[in-house]
């Protein structure tokens, strides 16, 4: 299948491709919220709301309902992002009532330093000794909660490499499919990781064994490149891997001129060129 069409953008960057690929997962009636350092998710939500999902509900920084930010500011956890909100959600009681309840905010777009073949994630420590780690990462924050509360998780990663995509994470700070198969169901956990959008490809998980599987290749990327950048054996789809749908002219124009003219979305990416 070839996703290119008449209105495919002539030029776009990998961050813009990832934004459009993530936006496609959010629909009218969904509720979305973002945490800190989440330029790509915020751009995806804003893009979805301006295109196919005008009824996508957004709680900026998990604080401001239906905000009207002028553009993406230097932080995604700041007042400039929740400007003109209809509601400030009190966090301790109201916001956590919604997050702990499986009925609300059912999709999250999140990042993780390390992810393994079953979608378990690690933002805690690199190394074997938890109390003398090689690298102390920021910590799980709310991710450990989201991963166990029946939410659908859409991961983004700007730097697909063997350091970040590993056979087994050093520490599970967010539950994926654990050891795979029905391990997650046996703990009574609904939801789970649904897709992973990296700078090279889009991945999902095998319905039965729950191992990560290539879903589509970004334009110009080869299976070999992805395999080489992945620290475990990535499952392949039936037949020829399709190409990730590139952003349209209108999407790229909205991202560059309206949503993120300051290019905040590019932070965290090594390469800024087109794939």
């Amino acid at each position: 299948m070839n996703a290119r069409s008449a209105d495919t953008a002539a030029d776009y960057t990998v961050d813009e491709l990832m934004v459009s690929a993530l936006a496609a997962h959010f629909e009218d009636g969904d509720q979305a919220c973002n945490g800190m350092a989440s330029f790509i998710p915020v751009a995806a939500f804003m893009l979805a709301r301006m295109t196919h999902a005008p009824e996508l509900i957004w709680i900026a920084s998990s604080v401001g309902l239906e905000p009207r930010p002028k553009r993406i500011p230097a932080s995604t956890l700041e007042a400039a992002l929740w400007r003109d909100s209809v509601m400030y959600l009190e966090q301790y009681t109201d916001f956590w009532n919604l997050v702990l309840n499986g009925r609300w905010i059912t999709k999250f777009c999140v990042g993780a330093a390390q992810m393994d073949c079953h979608g378990n994630v690690n933002n805690s420590v690199i190394g074997d000794d938890y109390h003398r780690p090689k690298v102390r990462l920021p910590g799980t924050a709310g991710l450990a909660d989201l991963c166990s509360l029946g939410k659908n998780l859409y991961y983004w990663h700007p730097d697909h490499s063997r350091r970040s995509f590993v056979e087994k994470v050093d520490f599970i700070s967010g539950a994926g499919y654990l050891d795979g198969g029905d391990a997650r169901d046996r703990l009574g956990l609904g939801g789970g990781p649904r897709a992973v959008v990296s700078n090279l490809a889009v991945m999902d998980f095998h319905p039965v064994n729950k191992r990560m599987r290539l879903k589509s290749l970004h334009p110009g990327v080869t299976v070999e490149q992805v395999r080489a950048a992945t620290g475990f054996e990535l499952l392949m789809p039936e037949g020829e891997p399709p190409e990730t749908a590139p952003p349209t002219r209108r999407q790229v124009q909205l991202i560059r001129e309206v949503i993120d003219p300051d290019g905040m979305r590019k932070s965290g990416f090594r390469t800024r060129g087109a794939p």
Binding site: M36, A37, L81, R83, S124, V135, S148, L187
Partner: protein, 298 residues
């Protein structure tokens, strides 16, 4: 109502070495930095810090050797990156971390506030956080036959540190309409003592105009001190945004232990007052910059 107004020295004097101190802070937002600096000036030692998402305050406290353990969900300066001095302290074993997810930390503090032995959550089930922490987290059955829950043991900090927009001298504390993170709602109710800095100390009559904005009743507050820009270099909406240049300078300096130590002495220990500290941090031009609407979401 009882008099609660105090000096920053007297207030922080209530903190003893070894205390568990709960710190209001959300990454680059709303940390009671003047209280943090005074802890450094008074050379507190062996402090256990409780923080939801800690920022530069944690890095400074680690660099100054004030803390030897941390209970929290994350430590990050968001776009300014990881806290390097904190990282070094943890990686060398000088600071021990009890990592909790946000719902587990809220539950531990909530149980402390309500003098309940524990509160349950369904968060973090399946993670290594639970296996790693049997003293405070246990998977228990539902007595009614439903799904198991994580019992989160009550956490009662010795002291809670809060920064607010205004307060009266009786310790009644008001917060302007803006983001209200969970730590503000629960830490002061859970802790044995509550120390508050406020942008301004006002007459109680001012509070009575907006009783719905008062978030802490004076009778649970032990000391209140007026400290304008008391959250600098973190943001305190709608009053001011975070100081990006100050954060950037620190991220550069903090890569080197020696330079970090010198910064702590020069910028944090040496200034004898908030005015001196602000002057050394850029003075009025800096304050004008962080007051700009662009910085405060106006």
């Amino acid at each position: 109502m009882q008099e609660k107004s105090s000096s920053i020295e007297k207030a922080v004097g209530m903190i003893r070495d070894g205390d568990v101190v709960a710190l209001q802070n959300m990454a680059t937002q709303a940390a009671p930095m003047a209280l943090v600096r005074e802890m450094i000036r008074q050379q507190k030692r062996g402090i256990g810090l409780v923080v939801l998402v800690g920022g530069i305050a944690v890095d400074w406290l680690a660099a100054a050797g004030v803390i030897d353990r941390l209970i929290g969900a994350a430590v990050s300066m968001e776009q300014f990156g990881l806290c390097q001095q904190y990282r070094a302290a943890v990686e060398s074993g000088r600071v021990r971390v009890e990592e909790l997810s946000e719902s587990l930390l809220n539950a531990r503090l909530g149980a402390g506030a309500r003098q309940l032995p524990f509160l349950p959550s369904r968060g973090a089930i399946g993670t290594d956080l639970i296996a790693e922490n049997p003293d405070n987290l246990r998977l228990i059955d539902d007595p009614f036959g439903g799904r198991p829950v994580v019992a989160c043991r009550a956490l009662v900090p010795d002291v809670a540190l809060v920064h607010a927009h205004r307060a009266d001298r009786f310790g009644n504390v008001q917060y302007e309409p803006t983001a209200r993170w969970p730590d503000l709602a629960v830490m002061p109710f859970a802790a044995r003592r509550v120390l508050v800095t406020a942008e301004e100390i006002v007459d109680s009559e001012v509070l009575r105009r907006h009783p719905e904005r008062t978030v802490l009743p004076g009778f649970i507050v032990d000391a209140v001190v007026e400290v304008p820009y008391g959250a600098h270099p973190t943001s305190f909406f709608p009053a001011y945004g975070y100081d990006d240049r100050f954060h950037l300078a620190w991220t550069e300096i903090s890569r080197d232990a020696g330079r970090a130590a010198a910064f702590v002495d020069r910028q944090l220990r040496a200034p004898c007052s908030q005015a001196e500290y602000l002057e050394a941090a850029g003075g009025e031009p800096m304050l004008a910059r962080i007051r700009k609407p662009a910085s405060t979401g106006g």
